[in-house]
């Protein structure tokens, strides 16, 4: 077993393990932390895959953005130490069964599809990504970029409207 393999399996185990903990642990704050670890693990996997740019984005957006947002909202909404309520037994069993079954089905299909890696170097550079991102012609991603920016704008507007505390009383009074 090569080092790369070892690293991969360790990373995999780490990702999956922390993910499982994240969705099962009873304390919400811990859950968020486990999620953080899991996301970092995924970033590690990207490193291992040698797509460092994505790894960087992953860390910046997820770890730096989303998880922080989540933790922030946890603080806003409740005490961190409190244990969360458990789902009902029935729901749990149904979920486990459906998830296991779904996984078996899906992975069976994927496995049987027998993806064969092409023996070609994967050459990407940040530069290439950057130019393509703003290119308007063939293989250009300018339009998606615009679309996403509008989406972000809209999301922002939406967040502000919804989350900002309205003060009707002040206006009236």
């Amino acid at each position: 077993m090569t080092a790369s393999q070892v690293i991969f399996y360790i990373l995999s185990a780490f990702i999956l393990g922390t993910a499982v903990l994240s969705v099962t642990t009873a304390k919400i704050f811990r859950s968020a932390i486990w999620l953080l670890f899991s996301l970092i693990g995924v970033a590690g996997l990207y490193f291992w895959l040698e797509v460092e740019f994505i790894a960087a984005v992953q860390i910046v957006v997820y770890v730096g953005g989303i998880v922080v947002l989540i933790i922030f909202s946890i603080f806003l909404t409740q005490q961190s130490g409190k244990e969360m309520l458990k789902a009902s037994m029935l729901r749990n069993i149904a979920s486990i069964l459906s998830v296991l079954f779904g996984f078996a089905l899906t992975y069976n299909l994927i496995y049987n599809n027998n993806f064969q890696a092409k023996d070609k170097p994967f050459d990407w550079t940040v530069n290439k990504i950057g130019t393509q991102m703003l290119e308007t012609g063939e293989n250009g991603y300018a339009l998606p970029f615009e679309v996403v920016s509008i989406l972000l704008l809209a999301a922002m507007v939406g967040c502000i409207v919804i989350a900002i505390k309205s003060k009707p009383e002040e206006k009236n009074g």
Partner: protein, 639 residues
Amino acid sequence: MNYSSYIALIPLLPLAGFILLGIFGRKYFKSSSGIIGTGLLLVSTVLSLYTAYKYFFVDGKAGDTYQTITALKFTWLSFSENVSIDMGIILDPISVMMLVVVTFVSLMVHVFSLGYMKGEERFATYYAFLSLFTFSMLGLVVSSNLFQVYIFWELVGVSSYLLIGYYYDKPSAVAASKKAFVVTRFADLGFLIGILILAFYGKSLDIKTLMENLQSSELAAISAASFVGISALTWGLTLIFIGGAGKSAMFPLHIWLPDAMEGPTPVSALIHAATMVVAGVYLVARLFPLFALTHAALSIVTFVGIVSAFLAAIIACTQTDIKRVLAYSTMSQIGYMMFALGISGYGGESGLGYTASMFHLFTHAFFKSLLFLGAGVVIHFIHSNEIKDMGGLRKYLPITNLSFLIACFAIAGIPPFAGFFSKEEILLASYHSNKMVFAVALLTSGLTAFYMFRLYFSIFWNKNTVVNSHHGEGPVSMKLPLVILAFCSIFAGLIPFGEFVSSDGKALDSHFDPLFSIAPVLFGVVGILLAMWMYKKESNKPKQISNSLGGLYKVAYKKFYIDEIYVFITKKIIFNLIGRPAAWIDKNIVDGLMNGIANTTAAVSNWIKGVQSGKVQSYAIYFFGGIVALAIVFLYLWK
């Protein structure tokens, strides 16, 4: 004058009367409607008499045979190439005779009613209905087409219905009218199916063509085709006979006739004595060439006829309502006519029964309507139908007394009154063909004499009733018909009927045989004497005799419980076992099924509502479940 130029007027004039009086009578002819109706009918009567004269004495005969003349014919409704309903008028001996009888008796009744119905609220309506009846009956007798017969047959039925129910606010009248209609309708069902059968094989509805077809080319087919072992021809004729039996109140379809007496008495005289009730006889006579083809059908006719004659006579002896007695007597007499036809053969001497039947029909019309009109005078006078309210009326009602007596002699078959001749011919014919029938007929004739004179003596003799009536026999309009009809009752029998009417159109000699007549006359006289002994004076003899007869009397008095059987069948069986379940099934099962579909839908809807639990995570599970299910179906099951 050619027939076609005026013949249609005979039925159409009364129709015009009906329309005129029916629509405008109430408003505009309230009092004059009687005159209008009678006047129109008078014209018809004159025309019929003229036609009769012309037919019988001028141009009806070709060689030695009376022809069937088609005076008028047009297609009214065609079904297929050959089969169509034609409206037409045929003239042959029996139709011409019937024209005369119907118009004449109807005219008498019209005239009589002028007095009898005076002051009625619905005077105009009454005349409208009478006109409608006359129209229908005339249409019936001159029909050239079997379906035309049926059409007018139905119209006659409805006029009868309307007239019986004339006193519409009397529940008994309403019930009687309904009963009359329904029973005859039931019989008509047979008629209708019979028509269908004959028309199918005969490939025509025209009576003449039909008979020709059936007698020649299609005979084999219709005789061979059979259902339950009985040939189609027999079926067809029997069914048609059922129709006739219904209208003619033959056993066991006679139950409507006594009840029909709820109608105004002149109506009974016209419809339920002289004309409509003989339609069945007429029908059989009309189709006689066909009946002659099959022995079976004729046997049924004979059997039904003789049973009716005898049964009705027995019942008549026990009844106390004078109109009912007359009604049963009518039934009995029609039974005579019926079995006379049944025992008759076709053509020549063997056709004596046919001639006799028609002869009896002819004479019976006069004396029976006379009896009814007389009874009408009595009822009008005493305001009751019950014998027990009557007695000794001869002092108050002399003309009625006399004419009633004449009619009684006529019906009892005492010479030289009209009934004697016709009845004697029937008995003679039956003597020659079937001794058993003859015996019963003879007995019946004795019974007839008995119950008629029982009636006569009870009304006009017996106890003295004190009546403080302010009117006597009524106006001239009421007396005149009595006199005329009495006259006819005396002399009608002298007509050499066989000259004119016979089964094959050829003249038939009179069969008057004084020696043979002894027995029937003797029976008649015995009957009269018996009645005289029992009823001339007020006594308790009748009571004693009826008591000594015990159960038998009761059974006869209760009309052999036939009504009760019918009630049982209709109320208990048809209503309870068919009607009610049908309604129930419809409401609960068929409709329940439809409602059930709706309810099930609602129930299912309620049952699955839990899926929409409001829990977003459950939604997600269902969502994923849907995917998995689809994937499995399309990956593994449905390739």
